[in-house]
Homo-oligomer: 431 residues x 2
């Protein structure tokens, strides 16, 4: 864990190093993935069979039942939930649905001064593939966060791919799949699953968009297939930036910092405060709480390797510019008047205002998406939304008079650009 | 050129081959680009100097003037335009600006039933890099189509990179740059220019988003840098699909088909009609017009290699499903009641309704963007818009009561997912 003071001589150098440190390494991964994708393309289901045996020790046989998980099994998993768990999942689903419903874009259709009809129509894609990691990162909340925007957008066919190492499935994920009305669940994971959804195989009908979290191989496969399909943003390790004055409870701040740290050793938690004593109190609280966590090993390593405590002179003056350079996935504003700070924040995936808004409620039940840009990508990228599952067709319509009004300018520009058929297509109609 | 008849036995096989033929080849390009980008990252301006000499035979020296083109020179190019050219450019710019102004997304800020404040704020990215090809594909219209949405979005810094082979610049492009108030124009092209804009060098401050057309190396560089920066969709060869009954003038249809064909030998022009005699008339008209074009060599090759005439039985019944499988960049509906057809079209980049709406007016002056998804990507991608230069920060705010209402469900789900610090960050506040 690093302690920085904004008045120190070496602050800028140290802070710049934190901003530049992507905590991502892809040595070798790109080549591996390239080979896997080429193999899936060439050899389809056979490749899936081989790689699933190699990586998951799970046999995909001639029995179709070994390849996928049926809707009955998902329904049973849902029925088997405790009332508490089912209630929590349903509350989350209904709030996520409501928030994303407000994202639906509006079509346009109007005539302008030249009597040209102009507009744009939005459509959902036909099919979306959702990757759900296996093992400990198999989160039902991720399934909700990926599937619900697709459903709200109107996507007809939702396909899930998830590895089942040694044949083990995660019942909470199946329950969430039931709640989201997923049609197909395939017991295939890794880069090859992403390739199968993008290219299609004998068994897989290809999809149009692939989203969902995964390890470095999955993320790289999505990156390489960008353009063959649509994808959500390239995702890296999680981050949280907490901006807090000294009136917050250090235990609250510590829990929030650790809630990112426990995700992965490469996660990053940063506190910016204007009180060095408060920073120390948070540091102590982190140590105390961390020791009690079942995730302490991961959380400790993340905090030790990537945690940062930054003390500045004037919180409102100094913290927002630093926050904008960090462009964090999550930013908490634990101050009395969070809006005063928020109006100065331009680059962040999602913002959590005030002391009673822990980032974790955004992960599960608040409504906005928890799939957010990481690794400073909030400079140019947004969280997952219904727009990731939709696309727009622009359109125009002119009659003879409208074409007479704007056509000649098009013909002039076409001639200038040396494109005579473009010009001819206008001129022939103006005769 | 292929002639297909939808009632023929081999129609489905032949049509499927057309749908699957991406007309894109990237053998070797990916590796070359990987090396160039690594070199730019390692050796910055020095690499730009070497590669610009190698590819463009142009010397970037110690004189900063050799690196960029000043605003004075752009202003002079604009002043030197004929009244006709200036008027056409200004009409195009103002119409593009007006159409894209209507794309600005709205912020959200509301309280829901649980008294949780929720919302989303949109911001422009800070800097965008626009690639402008050199030589014969240096189109002022492309500069307008890329720069104006960025300006409308509110992007502060617009950077253009364009190769100037043998030092030659395109005055029309400079005039368009003046009109778009471009701040920086660099005389660097190719994959290395894209790398310089993404990573930054000694001379280049990095940008957040890179858009604009380019050759296979430029397109591949953008693809590889996706995630380091935002990019517009991967672009391939242009396409037009014309759906026409036999009441259209064959000369009009021929001009429209050739207006795509003249772009590049890999462009594709397809006609679907319900009258075999009409199809032959169009074929003859293509031959006649093509012979008159200064671009005849390119247009001929494109038409011979990739042109398709499809005759169907029932235009309204048969054409839209085929169109949706082709998911063409441009679709023209040259029929009496184009809306009847348009309501059946789900996958297309841009639609041109009626007989008086040649695609070329969309290329220049109509207003919607001419940067559109190619290679069947309209299944999942949209044309360039202000959204490509903006991003969204979601936000939420809870007070103690609101957290008490939705927090317990979050804690339950966090516990189920084995993330105790997530649960603790809620529970500690509910005490």
């Amino acid at each position: 864990m690093q302690r920085l003071n904004s008045t120190a001589d070496d602050f800028e150098a140290k802070f710049a190093r934190i901003v530049d440190d992507r905590r991502e390494s892809d040595a070798g991964v790109a080549r591996d993935v390239q080979e896997i994708l080429a193999e899936v393309r060439r050899d389809g289901d056979n490749t899936l069979r081989n790689l699933t045996m190699r990586f998951d020790k799970y046999a995909l046989t001639d029995d179709p039942e070994t390849w996928s998980i049926g809707k009955d099994r998902c329904a049973a998993a849902f029925e088997a939930l405790s009332d508490e768990a089912r209630g929590a999942l349903e509350l989350a689903a209904s709030r996520i649905r409501a928030y994303h419903g407000g994202q639906m874009p509006k079509d346009r259709d109007f005539r302008d001064d030249a009597n040209v009809r102009l507009g744009a129509k939005w459509f959902p894609v036909e099919a979306a593939g959702l990757y759900v990691p296996g093992g400990r990162a198999a989160y039902p909340s991720s399934l909700l966060m990926n599937a619900i925007p697709a459903k709200v957008a109107g996507v007809e066919r939702l396909v899930v791919c998830t590895p089942t190492p040694n044949g083990e499935v995660n019942d909470m994920v199946l329950a969430a799949a039931h709640l989201c009305e997923i049609e197909e669940i395939w017991r295939v994971g890794g880069a090859h699953a992403v390739g199968a959804m993008a290219y299609g195989t004998e068994k897989f009908r290809p999809v149009d968009v692939i989203t969902g979290p995964g390890n470095a191989w999955v993320a790289e496969a999505k990156r390489q297939l960008y353009g063959v399909v649509g994808i959500d943003m390239v995702a890296g390790p999680s981050e949280i930036l907490v901006i807090s004055d000294n009136k917050s409870d250090p235990d609250w701040v510590a829990a929030d910092l650790l809630s990112q740290a426990e995700h992965d050793p490469t996660s990053q938690s940063i506190l910016i405060t204007d009180d060095a004593v408060f920073a120390e109190m948070v540091e102590d609280a982190v140590d105390v709480l961390c020791a009690q966590l079942s995730t302490k090993e991961t959380a400790r390593k993340s905090w030790d390797d990537h945690g940062v405590l930054i003390v500045v002179e004037d919180l409102l003056r100094d913290a927002p510019p630093l926050a904008n350079r960090l462009a964090a996935e999550h930013i908490e504003l634990m101050v009395d008047e969070p809006d005063t700070f928020f109006t100065k924040i331009r680059h962040a995936g999602s913002a959590f205002l005030g002391r009673h808004t822990p980032e974790a409620i955004g992960d599960y039940v608040a409504g906005p998406n928890h799939v957010l840009p990481t690794g400073r990508r909030a400079r140019f990228a947004s969280g997952l939304s219904v727009l990731d599952f939709m696309k727009r067709t622009s359109f125009l319509e002119a009659d003879a008079d409208a074409l007479a009004a704007i056509g000649p300018a098009a013909a002039i520009l076409a001639d200038i650009e040396g494109l005579p058929a473009h010009a001819a297509s206008v001129k022939v109609r103006l005769k």
